[in-house]
């Protein structure tokens, strides 16, 4: 398996950006009033 030896590929950066946006959306979902309260 011969692979190019440059730094982080562009697809990884795009993937990371999308993942960060999704994590932010996930966190916002949990702090904006539609998170579970008072159960368990």
């Amino acid at each position: 398996m011969t692979e190019p030896t440059e730094g982080m590929p562009r697809w990884v950066k795009v993937f990371a950006l999308v993942a960060i946006l999704l994590v932010i959306a996930f966190v916002l979902l949990h702090v904006t009033g539609i998170a579970p309260h008072g159960h368990g």
């Binding site: 398996m1 692979e3 190019p4 030896t5 982080m8 590929p9 697809w11 990884v12 993937f15 999704l22 959306a25 996930f26 979902l29 949990h30 009033g33 539609i34 998170a35 579970p36 309260h37 159960h39 368990g40």
Partner: protein
């Protein structure tokens, strides 16, 4: 490890991972129905089913997918931390499994209310929206992991580059 054993392990990993994806799709369909329906009896049945599908299918498949994926990476030349696509799949699977474990609690809460006939079609709406959103995000994450497995995009991590240079 013999080629036959490797193929058996790969079969187990693919089965668990794709089965997990399918089970989450079923869970999402049930959660959407539970959120949208006005029929309280059906809504209660749906959340009891969600809890069962979660504990009996989704949780075991997620743990099996994580375990077989780690073993698969370690016994093949791909390695666990050498290629970005393997590393990202590991992160997705680990995070999805951890978040799933955390979210089985609110699902259990809604299922208990449903089993005790204390859940109307409008009760716990915020929690039910959250269950739908979590299932949708899990489905997206698992689709991304499946796509990575099929395409195996190029890209070595710094560890992978060091290992390649040593050879």
């Amino acid at each position: 490890m013999t080629p036959g054993a490797r193929k058996l392990l790969l079969t187990a990993h693919v089965t668990c991972s794709v089965g997990w994806l399918g089970a989450v799709a079923v869970f999402l369909a049930l959660a959407l129905f539970g959120l949208a329906s006005d029929d309280a009896t059906k809504v209660r049945a749906v959340y009891v089913a969600c809890d069962l599908v979660g504990w009996l299918v989704i949780v075991p498949l997620s743990l099996a997918s994580l375990a077989t994926g780690i073993i698969q990476a370690l016994v093949t030349p791909w390695g666990l931390l050498r290629h970005y696509w393997v590393l990202i799949k590991l992160v997705i699977t680990t995070l999805a499994t951890a978040i799933l474990m955390i979210h089985m609690r609110p699902i259990g809460h809604v299922a208990r209310l449903a089993a005790e006939a204390g859940l109307s079609s409008t009760a716990e709406r915020g929690l039910r929206i959250q269950i739908v959103a979590d299932a949708a995000m899990a489905l997206l994450a698992l689709l991304a992991a499946t796509t990575l497995s099929v395409f195996k995009p190029r890209g070595l991590t710094s560890l992978g580059r060091r290992r390649q240079a040593q050879r």
